[in-house]
Symmetry: C2
Subunit: 227 residues, 2 copies
C-alpha cells in the first residue's frame, strides 16, 4: 500500500466524499496518513441529497478544502435519481445489479477527479469503493480500479493514480477502522431513500447495519432514532 503514505512532505490528495460511511472513513484515513486533502463532493440529482450536506459538514469538520461539482445525468433512469421509481428493498448477496445502479457514475466522478488532479498536479485520488459488502455495481470491483489506473498511465501527464484503501475490507472492518480514526458516524448519511431518518430497509441501510452489528458497535444514527 505504497500510496497510502503521503511521505515527509505533506502531499496533496483528492478524496471523493459522498458523506457516507466508506468515503468518510477514507477521508479520515488519508488525513491520518499525512495527506493534505481536498474533497470533491458530487451533486448528481441523487434523491438522497442529504448526503451532500453530510459531506460538506464532514469536510468542514476535518478542515479540508472542498469543491462541490454539479453534474446532470438525465438519461440514467436509475431509481437513485428518478423519483418516479421506487428504491428496492435491500438484498445483500443478490445476483442481479439493482435499479439503484447509476450507469457510469464512478467513471464520471473519477474523470472529474482526474481532471482536477491533472490540472493541479495532485498525485492521488482516494475513493472509498468497496467490493466485499456491496450491491454488485461493476464500478466497485478491484479489476475496475486496476483498469482505471492503467488508463491513467496513458492519460495523465502529471502521473495521477487512484487509491482504494477499503476495496477489500468488510463493512465490519470499515466501521472498526472509522471508529478508531474518530469518524463522526452521526454526521454521515447512507440511506438511499433520503428521508428524515434512515429507512433501515434499502441496500445501503442494510449493509451499514450489518457493518455496525458485526463490529459490535451501535450506529449513532439508528440509536438517535430509537431513543
Amino acid at each position: 500500500m505504497e500510496w497510502i503514505k503521503a511521505g515527509k512532505n505533506k502531499k496533496k490528495a483528492v478524496v471523493l466524499l459522498s458523506g457516507g460511511l466508506d468515503s468518510s472513513t477514507t477521508l479520515y484515513l488519508a488525513k491520518s496518513r499525512g495527506w493534505d486533502v481536498h474533497c470533491l463532493i458530487f451533486s448528481y440529482g441523487q434523491r438522497h441529497s442529504r448526503e451532500v450536506k453530510s459531506a460538506v459538514s464532514i469536510a468542514k469538520k476535518t478542515r479540508s478544502s472542498y469543491s462541490l461539482v454539479n453534474i446532470n445525468l438525465p438519461w440514467c433512469g436509475s431509481s437513485l435519481i428518478d423519483k418516479s421509481k421506487k428504491i428496492p428493498p435491500g438484498k445483500i448477496g443478490r445476483e442481479r445489479i439493482p435499479s439503484t445502479y447509476v450507469p457510469g457514475r464512478n467513471t464520471i466522478f473519477l474523470s472529474y477527479a482526474f481532471s482536477f488532479c491533472e490540472a493541479k498536479k495532485i498525485p492521488a485520488i482516494f475513493i472509498g469503493a468497496n467490493a466485499v459488502d456491496f450491491s454488485g455495481y461493476p464500478d466497485c470491483r478491484p479489476c475496475y480500479y486496476r483498469a482505471f489506473n492503467r488508463l491513467l498511465e496513458h492519460a495523465s501527464v502529471a502521473g495521477v493514480k487512484i487509491v482504494t484503501p477499503l476495496i477489500r475490507k468488510s463493512k465490519r472492518d470499515i466501521v472498526l477502522l472509522g471508529h478508531k480514526l474518530g469518524v463522526p458516524f452521526e454526521m454521515t448519511w447512507s440511506c438511499y431513500r433520503g428521508g428524515d431518518k434512515p429507512c433501515g430497509d434499502c441496500d445501503s441501510c442494510r449493509l451499514r447495519a450489518k457493518g455496525f452489528e458485526d463490529a459490535g458497535l451501535a450506529d449513532p444514527l439508528v440509536k438517535t432514532d430509537s431513543e
Copy 2:
C-alpha cells in the same frame, strides 16, 4: 475494423461531435456505415463556443438526434477556456504539450458518453480522435483508447466500446474522406481563437490548412474569407 459496421439491423451509436473537421467526418462515416447515430455535443466553457453552434447545425443537417451536455471545469487553467490567457501560435511537431491542453477533457467526455450508452444499451461510442497530425495531447493516442476500452470491459454491463476510425489517418486523408462522404466543410469550425473568422495561426487552424493543402482541396471557410 469490425466496429465500423453496424450490421443489417441498424444499430445505435453515439458520436462525440465537436463541430470540427474530424468529428464531423466521423459522424458522416458512422452514418454511411449504417449506424443510427445520436450526437453528444459538449459545452465546457471553450472560448471557441462557435464550434458548439457548428455541431448543432451539422447534427440537424444529418437528421441525427443530439444532446447538449454542459460541463464546468473551473480548475483547468487551459488557454482554451481561460480568456485571460493567450492561445499560442501553432507549432506542428512541438515537443511540449501546449497550453490549449484541457486536463482530462476526453476522459470526461467519454465517461459521459459511456454513461449515456450504458443507460440506453447503445454498443458503440465513435470519437474522431487522431494521433497523426495532432497537438500531442495524451488523450488522442491509440494506447489511451485501448486502455479505455479495457476499462469499459470491467465498467460496462451493456458491453459499450469506443471506436476511433480516424486515429491513424493523416489530416490529408481525413479531408479526402470527409470530401468523399459529403461533409459540409463550410459548416465546420476548427479555430481555437473563436473569432468571426479562423485565425489561420493556432494549432488547429494550421493542422486544418495542412490537411486541405495536402489533399489538394480548398477549405471553404478560408475561401469565403479571402473572397
